[in-house]
Symmetry: C2
Subunit: 206 residues, 2 copies
DNA sequence: CATTGACTTGCTTGGAACAAGCAAATATTG
DNA sequence: CAATATTTGCTTGTTCCAAGCAAGTCAATG
């Protein structure tokens, strides 16, 4: 008969955190960040009007939490898949994993990328988190390219920048046309072949 | 002694439109869209707090006007530079022009791309305008690729998508690191050589 | 039982949107 | 050309709503 589950403090915050983050992700994907209100986040999660604001400090804080949590999951995934690989195979695996991530974690990643793109205009905490993720992606890619046999460091950096720009470009297209599921895989595969070709050219020319 | 310049209706709206668009562009670049208020736009332009809202209907309407006006300028520029060219030279000219546009029309283009990236999350009028520009860029590029000797239409489309993603990626980097002026030209040049290489590969393989 | 921590409620502030009003510019009429 | 009517650019008053903060309640912890 214990209708109230009687949870510990830690359990309560964990639960409410998760519920509110999920609610926020749903709202962002459905309405965009502008029309996502802290009030709705709290109430849809089953709490009061004020909890989201109290817990995350501000709307920007809520968004930062989303970026952190999804970003952490993504980086962990990426590490798991590429840790044993080097050179082009690592790049290919990263691309494949990104493609898979788009399909499985759809809403989470959608919200993540929406926040990513929107952060460009503002000096928000979100921007710093994203800058970190971005920097890390670039460094990893540059290392893989060096391992793939490109000796010129500047060429590695340039190609790495281009590669990550392309991934972001794919994310952009994926966001703007949600109705084409197989196209995402197509774009990822195209990027893979392009990268192989560019690496070949860069390798033979040095 | 005629202190009041005595303008016609058309002149008045033209003037206030321009002043307010300029003010808005400045504010967007400086503070981001969130902290750009219709009140400030009106007052900085030298009018009342209400004029921006009245003229553009809403904040979204103001942003749409900015995207339209800068987008139109950009498309006209692009047309002027590429109209007499075909194949790879057209692509190269488009890249060069984009690089030049980044340097000369800095603030305008900055605001334009900020609005571009932010529009991804919402179902706003801005999004439709941008979708149009984006579609047009893609079609032009695909045509140039076909003219460059790539016979497979699917390959043209894929490469065109990739190309435009890369341009957007460059815009992204340009926005996120305003303090590196020559890097922009570097990125554009890298893209040019990459495109030439990718075209060569696609041509010989068909 | 005291204290800490999770959560709620009341309130303030500020921006977006709208409507009513004012004044300058334009159209109409004798 | 002058007098009047009407349209149009712009301003001011007001409403609504979200963000953020502070004070309060109630459950868990030690």
């Amino acid at each position: 008969m214990s209708g109230a589950p009687r949870r510990s403090h830690a359990e309560r915050t964990d639960l409410s955190d998760r519920l509110m983050l999920d609610a926020a992700i749903g709202l962002i994907v459905e309405r965009g960040t502008d029309r996502t209100t802290l009030k709705d986040v709290g109430e849809i999660a089953g709490y009061s009007r004020g909890l989201a604001g109290y817990r995350f400090g501000s709307k920007a804080g809520l968004f930062e939490s989303i970026v952190r949590s999804v970003g952490a999951r993504w980086l962990a995934d990426l590490k798991r898949v590429t840790s044993e690989l080097k050179g082009f195979p690592a790049i290919a695996a990263a691309i494949d994993e990104h493609s898979r991530f788009c399909e499985t974690a759809a809403d989470d990643l959608r919200a993540f990328y929406i926040l990513w793109f929107e952060s460009i205009g503002v000096q928000s905490p979100v921007k710093n988190v994203i800058a970190g993720i971005h920097e890390r992606r670039r460094r990893d890619t540059a290392r893989w390219l060096r391992e793939a046999g490109i000796e010129d460091n500047a060429a590695c950096d340039a190609l790495a920048a281009q590669f990550n720009a392309s991934v972001l470009g794919i994310a952009y297209q994926w966001l703007s046309r949600p109705t084409e599921p197989h196209m995402v895989r197509q774009l990822h595969n195209d990027l893979k072949t392009s990268m192989r070709q560019l690496i070949d050219v860069a390798r033979t020319s040095s």
